[in-house]
Symmetry: C2
Subunit: 227 residues, 2 copies
């Protein structure tokens, strides 16, 4: 089992954002801090699971789609040989080949089944096999989601365990820690996609911040509306 | 602005799962139904926004990564001509070309810059340009998330607006409507990836169901633990 860093990062951003959005919603609606833990953890497991499952399905569906297309091309090569040869001819004509040289190229490409199919996959369909394991990809998402999504809950856990009744103070600690996580995760993401790290850190921080603000004011507004 | 169906579907599954997970968590912890609306809507906007933003960033990062790689290949072709020609030679040697024909192929491929770079991108790096618009992709995610994620909230909205105090009845309606949405969305997804539709519907239903059950029991357990 190998952890995939990019899936880990996407999971962790979503984990931190949604958990903190719940916290902000609860605080905005001035509900009790116990609800934060209840719904925070319910979201961590449920949303983390569903995101990992969606990731697994998407990766598997892509693999299956490519496999299906490959089988289809193989069938066409076996049953519509001339038509498929003509497609190879068109592909290489576009690359600038012509006359005898073009015919020679078509002959070589179509003389080996694997090379023929690979060429059709890449050039005709624009498909390249991805060797990513769907299970590893989804486990990485889940771990990222739960590990980083846990961070904004920690201050509330400590305050409740120590029976300190200081909801707004816990919220301050939670905000600081989640903002730090946003920034850090954004920086790591920047490193992966080879973009400026500081800018990428701020980017993720801003997006997470907006999402949390939205949650806070929706919670705040609905509380007034309902009561 | 064009809606992308696959992004819409992934957004809608996540929207339905996380919204219903919050509902299940609230009901499991036997909190008041007003909290469902407050946190349900806070989650819809905040999580929907963050998912759309993550989708936008991922799509843009991929485009930028491919663009960077293309520029890099172009630089190498301009500055390390012989080395890059040798790479083309190796690629076509693997396809079964040799001797004079191989040299002719290398000459033709490397005589047009675009064909040369395209070949390096596909064959050496395994990268194919994706013409998906990041903004359209993220807007599709957001709409799917909010539209389908709203469904399990509707029964609670109606009951609260009509001032009917029947939380468990609203939960039954919510459960039925969200299960129907899971199944329907799963079927549409099956249609897109060309898999059996009924099976795909049940698959999504099961994953959504497990996520909701987890949320319900985490809510239930934590409520007992905290009180």
């Amino acid at each position: 089992m190998k952890l995939h860093f990019d899936d880990f990062i996407y999971g962790s951003i979503d984990g931190a954002v949604t958990t903190f959005a719940i916290i902000a919603g609860v605080v905005g609606a001035s509900l009790s801090p116990g609800i934060i833990l209840i719904l925070g953890f319910a979201n961590l497991f449920a949303d983390g699971f569903s995101m990992a499952a969606a990731n697994y399905q998407a990766a598997k569906a892509r693999n299956q789609f490519i496999e299906m297309k490959r089988k289809q091309e193989e069938w066409e090569i076996d049953n519509l040989e001339e038509q498929e040869k003509e497609e190879i001819r068109e592909i290489y004509k576009k690359k600038g080949f012509k006359d005898e040289l073009l015919e020679e190229v078509v002959r070589i490409i179509t003389s080996r089944r694997k090379v023929w199919v690979d060429t059709m996959m890449k050039e005709e369909l624009g498909l390249i096999e991805d060797e990513k394991n769907p299970l590893e990809s989804s486990v990485s998402t889940f771990i990222g989601f739960n590990l980083i999504g846990l961070i904004p809950l920690i201050p509330f856990m400590i305050f409740i365990l120590m029976k300190i009744d200081a909801n707004s103070e816990a919220f301050v600690y939670s905000t600081i820690s989640v903002m730090a996580s946003f920034f850090l995760v954004g920086m790591i993401k920047g490193k992966i996609v080879k973009k400026p790290k500081i800018r990428s850190g701020f980017y993720t921080l801003i997006i997470g911040g907006i999402a949390s603000l939205v949650a806070y004011y929706v919670g705040y507004g609905l509380k007034i509306l309902i009561q």
